[in-house]
Assembly symmetry: D2
Homo-oligomer: 381 residues x 4
């Protein structure tokens, strides 16, 4: 089996999940962890058996033995690091959003094509087995022609004005927060599953907390929920807590979604519902192993994840037998497996989201932001 | 106990539910059924023990012994019949929509005030015990300040172009179908539960089937699902199958809903989710005895309908002990009970939706229709 | 339409539900309410439009104009009243348990046969639309040969030792409480749906509270949950709070159920699961409009109650269109409708549980009690 | 960080899950895979980066550099291999059942004690975060005194007589199948969570298929569902498809469970319900991230897995933030992490099931088998 050598840049919540996910593939060697906080990098290198830790990611890029890198830094660093990595000849798997502007996204797509490097934007949520089942049902015509697409991505981790995170800082996060961070996952999944494009949007954003209480020390993403800081700075917030969007997918299909980081009780609820002329499907990330299948003239179905019941093309995304749950971590493994396989086989058609998909997300986001500012419908580029 | 005499006009699906619901109140006597199809009226009078059947509702209005009338006819007749009834001195309980235009609605509100008659627009769905629980939680401040209101009213009974019903004919139904028929229930419930007003809307409507196959003979509402007609007329459709709406409730609260009559597998799913600064609630008409209560810092709750757990002001809407389900029919009983009590006690503040609430629904609907036509945001009058 | 005249004996929780249910049938006149607490009887007669109230049920039985009676008294009175009523020539609908011993049950079956009177034991829970759907699926062979039958009937209204009710007094209730009151519903439904007979049982009963705090004044069934009495009597309890049963249905089919009145959070959860060689079904009374259908080689189904999806023979038990919930009250209407129809048509095969079914329940109960006492398997007579 | 070297014996379904789970711990090196089918072993060694593959596990045991071994072979080999491994000085993590008889189990417990080796019986299902939450709630007294314990472990992978697997062969599997394979998981979890012991049982077993169609070639566990063999041997089956058990846990607590491998639609449903004097809990392995918490005097709760909501002692079993699902694979990681930590720290109290727990399971199983044979209650040793 062909072996690969890789590096991970960034060691926040998601960097750690990447590290563990890479380990599950016995044929990918963790060559390096890049992270300015070097002690943290060294600690993780020890825990996950990485060969070395570097404060400066450029040092890692100079190592010719390394095939690929995972970019798991704060958003504003995605673009410069991915750019440098591609130019250093590395294959790049970049966390979403791919960049903080459409223009940056376009550059990365062009660079990757020019350098013929494998490139992925990490919309991992596509790769729950049941999401792939929806996709394949649509491809096989089980849903008929798509009429209605609706849903929500709701969380509650930023409900209180005492909740704080680097994502609240536009400089590190980019100009959109809720729609960029979770709305983009929803749109990516909606387009991936339906095979249709969002062509115009009318978006309404809201920043419920105009200021938030910023703690003086650094905190980890998501850790804010149990944090009880002694000392805050009242800080103005210029990114949205919430967005509601109605959209069109061409002349016929219509849809709507809500993204929110302030919906009490919803921890990580990405729900996607698709209704076509022959049937409907509904899926919720908080119960990822279940797929609801709606039917007009017979009983609805609730499929429990079971490889023997999945469409042949969805089956390879489920590693465990029926009723043995596969979770969030497992979607990482599924993407990594396909990403490295495609590095090893230049002829293979990638079955993972590429930079072009990341750019697509940025274009939708740009239209949403513009729609909100203009209080009007806007076409997606 | 004071006794009342009443009449029901219209004998379709909902007329029949009114008849049975009235019977459950032992102190309301069914004096008459009014319906142009006189055999049908006579048959129902026999089944439900009504004293007489009349083809012409005016005959019934002439009877001075009758206290109140229920208007259950096709929509376009609501206005003229309700108007005549009020002018004849009857108390009037009218099915929704109250009328087919804002102007008609205004007239009815004025007439009822002038004649001092009890008046109800039949938004019965408010009166599921768990909807009242949501309302009382909000009133007690359990949800804090309302931030997000979202949901859907989805059905599938008009999914196929072979589905036919009088509601598809704008002349009988009014100019809006999906938003008027079910969207109006959603908006009424959202305003009732939150205590807030929808102040502006951006709506996108769609008529997926531009023509439908109209059977040559008459059919009952909902019966189309099993109908297999030999002969159809291809008939143009000018009312919407679907509407998606983003809306604002004042400066702070934001929301969105989807109404659809073509969503395969959804039989009668009115789901309403409300998120405030302290907690969230979510309810689905297909499981009316359950209420989800979302919390950020403790486990979410799922309340099973149980009078001993309900807020004191919600408790009178639940007649049965915990876990004994109360359904759609039971909401009729709850409204009827309060409507007749208020006739008997002129000093009682009505706890049911009045003509003014019906008018409110027509105003929202008008804004939605206008928004769609203008492809732009529109303020609600 | 043929009209009937009826009377209700007993005015506790379930008596009231009978009264309201009878009213829904316009062709059944409430001739009398019999109840020793005459003011209560008069109050209900006024509320439900009954012609008269009587303290002594015998007075009612003397009225030759009355066709039928509903026996809704405490359990120990079922036998004497039902006996007198049959002998007075009335058709009898008796609440369950039919009697407090097998011997009494046998007498009632014989008397009803001798006097050729219509007779019903009120196992109304069979008549939820989805329970009838299970029954008809089994009859049509959709489940194949039945292998496994399991489930539970769990409530929590007697969890605390401060919970009190007449059912706790063996003299009024009979020697078994939990198995007689709710276990009997489970067994009746299991036999009704499977068409099989429970042939032997091993039962283990438990009285968790050996004494309870009895309030000095009378209280209504179920009202104990909010009661805060000032004064209790510590009273020994000799009926069970709980029973677990493994059973056989002939040589092949195996099963098990748990009945409990002390299971916190379960309000009225009768769940029944049946697995056959071709498929499985599962139903829960707390969500009566849903039926889970299990399949090995395709996705499971969750049927929302919808007449157009029900088996033809289950369809008449659903009065409302898809997704319009039908609840506990509605099962009463379904039984009453069939009971009175069968009075009017002596040739009609009853489609409701008769005294013979009530006797059957007493026989299973007797075997369960004996099994517990002997700490051994016992055959059902 | 201390590093460990380990080996895995057996490469069926569960062996593979062990391999991948071990990889997730960066500080455990896969030194060897032992498996008579040497090509399979070599293939997996390549895929998971193991240093070598051996047909004979004894060769691996001879390697003094290896600290620990995972025994993932068919059941009948657990005892001899675990015995040899302990005697070779290895720490041993053995799949359940620990052995095929109580006597073998006793020997292993004694050997491990004598050789002072860390020993685990792999009841991994305890280590879903929500199962640990139940355990800690009970320890903290949130449930009060336990009254009722009930549930089921139901699967459908052996529903048809054409389903075949090595587990059907008593010689490889041991004398009990359904109760040993899945019933033992249920009992282990019930005792672990309640902290109580099953003291007596009445069990009823059933072999629905007295013969099965055995395919002539070898097949993988669970693969039978899609297999379409050309040629079968009609083979007598002497292990059970189903078991129903009523049990006592001391003088007060009562319970019941059903284990079945023939329940259509149930893929891997381990449901455990526990009701105490203060509250109840219910959990289902098919939705592992949810915990139902039943309450008498307030709304029930449904906790979504969220570290910030978990009891402090349950929190370390959840690696991901709220609403990010953790599945079956993740329970392996949790056990492995604690097992290796305890090897590195001889003073650490093991927080994983040991051989003694495996022996306990065998004792319950023995009582169940004896109870079935005697058709009577039997005390657990």
């Amino acid at each position: 089996m062909k072996k690969f050598r890789t590096a991970v840049f960034g060691t926040g919540f998601v960097g750690r999940v990447h590290l563990e996910g890479i380990r599950r593939l016995g044929y990918v060697q963790l060559a390096a962890i890049g992270e300015p906080q070097i002690e943290k990098a060294q600690h993780l290198a020890d825990e996950f058996g990485a060969e070395r830790a570097e404060a400066d990611y450029r040092k890692v890029l100079e190592d010719p033995s390394i095939d690929a890198v995972h970019v798991c830094t704060p958003n504003f660093l995605h673009f410069p690091i991915a750019k440098d990595a591609i130019q250093a000849g590395k294959h790049v798997l970049c966390e979403k959003p791919l960049a903080t502007s459409v223009e940056e996204g376009r550059q990365l797509v062009a660079l990757a094509r020019e350098h013929k490097r494998r490139n992925a934007t990490f919309h991992n949520l596509r790769y729950y087995p049941m999401v792939q089942q929806m996709r394949r049902m649509r491809e096989d015509g089980d849903l008929g022609e798509i009429l209605v697409v609706q849903g929500t991505y709701s969380q509650d981790w930023l409900l209180y004005d005492t909740d704080w995170n680097w994502r609240l800082v536009a400089k590190e996060n980019g100009p959109s927060r809720c729609l960029a961070d979770i709305g983009s996952h929803w749109c990516d999944m909606a387009e991936h599953v339906t095979g249709l494009r969002i062509t115009s949007v009318c978006a309404d954003l809201q920043t419920f907390h105009k200021t938030r209480k910023q703690p003086k020390g650094p905190i980890e993403t998501f850790a804010g929920k149990t944090l009880r800081p002694e000392d805050y700075i009242e800080t103005p917030i210029d990114t949205e807590d919430f967005g509601a969007v109605v959209f069109r997918m061409g002349d016929r299909t219509r849809g709507s979604f809500v993204a929110s980081q302030v919906s009490a009780g919803r921890k990580n609820r990405l729900s996607l519902e698709i209704y076509g002329t022959k049937g409907g499907v509904s899926w919720d990330q908080e119960k990822p192993d279940e797929l609801w299948i709606g039917q007009r003239n017979s009983a609805n179905q609730v499929m429990v994840k079971d490889p023997s019941l999945l469409k042949p093309k969805a089956r390879p995304f489920a590693d465990l037998p029926g009723g043995h749950s596969e979770g969030y971590d497992d979607t990482f493994k599924q993407v990594f497996r396909r990403f490295y396989r495609s590095i090893g086989d230049p002829g293979e058609e990638p079955d993972y989201p590429q930079f072009a998909d990341g750019l697509r997300g940025l274009q939708i986001l740009e239209a949403e932001m513009q729609s909100h500012k203009q209080h009007a419908w806007v076409d997606v580029a």
